[in-house]
Symmetry: D2
Subunit: 366 residues, 4 copies
């Protein structure tokens, strides 16, 4: 872990974090990035692996919640039907979904030539946001190799902010991108689980930005800080957002897919705390998976016999899911570095426009 | 409008309210209550009428969003399929749903004896929360007559707080009940619509109560104010909530049922701002309807030809829906009066435990 | 088992039946009826118990598929969220849903006074069809006692046809009602499960009646048999159906709620084979439950650790679910006896209008 | 229209067809194919255009029904949220979805360079089935140019069977592919609409094949006709299908997206009549769109003010949707020609194994 991984960000909520405050606090989960940053191309790929084994042979239970479906992610239909992941989860820009999905298929058939022949086909799973403000999205810059590199670089200690799929993303008219966090849920005496979140944050109008209950966006607009003039103008003109947010939740709690679906829906609560109302043009999608057990692809292998969490003890998972989501968004904002991209378009990192944020929050009380 | 309708409550958000700051700012919408308050019986009925005409003949477009389905409301299946209301909307306690639904059927067949014979049956629509802490819910105290009286008393100027279906409800371990609010949405230059909300608020753990971004619940717990000792104990023990919230949204914007469904989903954002994560045991359900046009029950009558709102202009409706919901919950709390009910159980109104709330929010900044 | 339980009906499909060809071939499942038949009152209640234990303490996994939501059943919202049954399943006429639901609540609180107080409320589960042609549905004739009697009479050997909730039901303008069947699924070598179906059949236009792929309805219309003249006239006039069908599926296969949902959706295939297109006015709802394991209501009790069926072996359950549904509808028609009811309205049993059905099917080949 | 477009097929159902018995009986709808047939490559692309105008500027109302979600189609999330089509609908093999989706994006940005920049992104819509038995799906043979060619060749008079995306598809272990049909719905006196269907048929086990209610599959298995020996063996061994079916429905009836969703669900009834139970491994998806009105992409353009069909008159659309689907599947089978492909794998056209089908159905009666 090198120095530049470190950043400071406001701490939201009251629940305890895991040791890294990352999605990788859920044992086995790793994250990899490929970042493309050259002139008008400011984009990339981020991947999440639930475990170190073959993803097709050892499938991970998962569920999806479409908070607002203005989005082009692929793979959700089958996840909703079958409740499992078959590939690493990939994040990229909207126009690169096809390329990355094809790369996932090629990777799976390279490992298992029977796929699509004697075996069923594989379900690629690619989430996206539109980074077209900073990135020349029409350049289709992401390649299959970029996906492969992201997979190879997967690690428990990964960077946040303007990296990977987050390179060109905007959030509240500031620089957005990748953020991650974790919270620890105590479901009964002595029984704890971790819920980790990783977001690709590319949503929100500046006027709505809320952190720790404070109207930071209103403050920035009113105090004429060096925010993009265009962002201010857009916000004043009521121009709708064209962003999105992808929220990935991991846990080691033993949950079936119905329960995972319930957990995934709580991401929307964390998102709302940041000021979002799930804007019309925003593809807001949450996915939750568990590492507590695996489903074998081969029917001859033994199915797991897992005691799921008693439903009446699920509230702590809801609370940690919401808070980890909220913190991951905050971390995406504060880890981000300012980026200049396509046609000179520029997004400020919040650290550059509100460097005195500690004083701001102190003055605002709490 | 008599004096006791007035109350002061914190103002949330930045959007303008309608003239009454009530769901009845949507022209035609009226609300009626029957309140039962005698010893262990602390319960009631609240009804909402979208217009003054026959509800079965002139059906109102509507859509439902089940935020968390731990609830026993009736009528949702058909609303989801057909997208219309056929009766007034009724709110009551969990165990009185059957009685009130039957009353709705009887009312409809009294007006139209062909219902269930030459005509299709009528779809009762009754929402509920569990008021069993303050109310002897096992007494099944609500009668068909109580429903009829609530219908007869429907008015644009209605009471909030510990009235009607809200009589016995608890919210964040304080006194909850009925709250209402409205916001005005400007969808394009010179084009405005109203979004009104009415809630039956019976949800939340005290530790999570958040108002205007401030952790009021934590403040109350820390400052030993005269909150129920049981509430404090429960909260500390992590006992899950057994409450619920029903959120009804009305608008005069021309929306089809798909769009109304989208609007109804934004109630969850307003709910989250209050500290809710849509707890496991909470039946959190939102319904949105429009008064912009009506669907005739009789096929021979002309169907409306309405220009729906262009989708790209729907964001202001999302923002007003979320904020009206948030304000309606705040109003439910601040309009409520303390109630003692079943077995001496007691809920404090927030006004009684935090009478100095103006100073609190001032000190907290913003 | 007395003589009048016996009837002959065409055999559909190719899969093997269980020993009784009833839903009670799933071990533990029992069915009870209360039949009301006096003049204009021709209605009743039917209940299904998944097991002999307390239904609230030992909850049964279940899932619902709304094929067409023109229906007033209660309890579905919570089944969809939590995936369990908490009461016996009740069937009755549309206007008696409230009464029966309240009876279910009263039964549960009689057994467990903590319900709605220290424990959560109970979720009543009542399905319905409109028997208003033969039954004076506006008489609200079904009482709480009728529900209690149906529960007490539950048995593995139960009657079909014009009994219980099926007393006043019509199907394809003939006499409908209760039907049941079972099929045995071989999911892998030596591994078998039973899928049982019970239907409340009250749907269909005569012109569409199809049995074993034969257009029986067209044949009856063309051959001037003693079918209701009104049915013929309605059918010719294209008058839409106002019926419904409720389909209950039981299995002893170990399935989680996602898998049960998949099984429940296959009821629609069996329904389609009878000529249905899930008509607009028909409330067509399927529910599937498993007896393979139970969920304890009390969190302190051990949760089951069950190896679910491998997904790739689920097809035999789909095929048996569809075929058991189809056979159950056929059995409802052929077990039915002709009934005269409200205002002299009359429905013929198919056995009365097509007594020579064996010859008919022989002549039609296959 | 050249000679080879003609084929004879059994006629199912009783409703009248449109003049061509094709989806293009809905005015404006056109279909184009690119067929790849060389050795191990037996695949292609088929596209459907709802009208001749720019698909992004003049969006067509649509709704989706996921009958069984074992599928990798892209674009459904946004169609479900917004209820419109923005591109031609594309059909291809499972592994070519990414390539075709990217081609759709490139086509849209070529026409409108603002897409993904000042305008929102475009939603590609690609459906798929797995043709890996006859086609070397791992060759990724479909190119962007193939998609462009299919678009350019769109016509009202299009070929069916082993063409376009249907080139390598199998259906009931016979040769499947593209089929189309139409039916005319009379919704009230003098008021008619057309419902057209186009299917990509790649589903089903031979044992289940049912046509006009006759167990054709059982007949073929029993009578040792020249069906693939592997198909027979698989069928006997109970090997699950790995197929899929895509069902596209077009109509000129004025329906909103909720109503279109209801229509799309009736495709499942037509599918069931062919013997399908929506097998586990089958991605069975239906989409319905209307040409009755369009939604402008640009908010400044006037929104349509259309009188939708009264709900009580929707049954004829349900019946035509089911029957057009059924007929389209029959046409896919009978229009197909036998194909030999990957590794010498071969699928017989039903016309080759049951050339005497007219006699078969006559003998079977009806």
């Amino acid at each position: 872990m090198t120095q530049h991984y470190l950043f400071d960000a406001p701490r939201v909520g009251l629940l305890p974090s895991g040791p890294r405050n990352l999605i990788s606090d859920v044992p086995g989960v790793r994250v990899g990035h490929t970042t493309l940053s050259q002139g008008d191309v400011q984009t990339g790929v981020t991947i999440i692996k639930p475990h170190a084994q073959d993803p097709f042979l050892f499938q991970v239970p998962a569920a999806v919640s479409v908070i607002n479906g203005f989005g082009k992610s692929v793979g959700l239909v089958q996840v909703q039907e079958l409740g499992v992941l078959e590939t690493p989860i990939a994040l990229t820009n909207t126009f690169s979904v096809g390329e990355v999905a094809t790369a996932q298929i090629r990777e799976a058939i390279a490992a298992h030539p029977a796929i699509g022949r004697d075996w069923p086909t594989v379900n690629p799973l690619v989430f996206e946001c539109n980074d077209g403000y900073l990135n020349d999205i029409q350049a289709f810059a992401v390649s299959a190799n970029d996906y492969a590199q992201a997979c190879q670089s997967a690690t428990e200690h990964f960077e946040q902010g303007s990296v990977g799929a987050g390179r060109g993303m905007s959030c509240f008219a500031l620089k957005g991108g990748i953020g991650s966090a974790s919270r620890v849920a105590t479901v009964s005496a002595g029984q704890q689980y971790v819920v980790g979140a990783l977001v690709l944050a590319n949503f929100g109008r500046l006027a709505n930005l809320t952190v720790k209950g404070r109207l930071v966006g209103q403050y920035l607009l009113a105090n004429g800080l060096s925010v993009d003039r265009k962002a201010v103008a857009d916000s004043a003109a009521g121009i709708p957002e064209k962003g999105s947010i992808i929220i990935l939740l991991a846990t080691n709690a033993p949950l079936d897919t119905r329960q995972l679906h319930r957990v995934s829906k709580r991401a929307a609560a964390g998102l709302a705390r940041m000021g979002s109302v799930y804007g019309h043009g925003s593809g807001d999608i949450a996915l939750a998976f568990t590492t507590a057990y695996q489903i074998p692809a081969i029917a001859e292998n033994a199915m797991p016999a897992t005691s799921m969490l008693h439903e009446s003890r699920i509230d702590p998972l809801f609370e940690t899911a919401a808070e980890a989501t909220e913190q991951a968004i905050v971390n995406a904002l504060w880890a981000a570095t300012s980026v200049r991209g396509r046609m000179g378009n520029h997004r400020w990192a919040i650290n550059d426009v509100l460097p005195q944020w500690r004083e701001y929050f102190e003055k605002e009380g709490q």
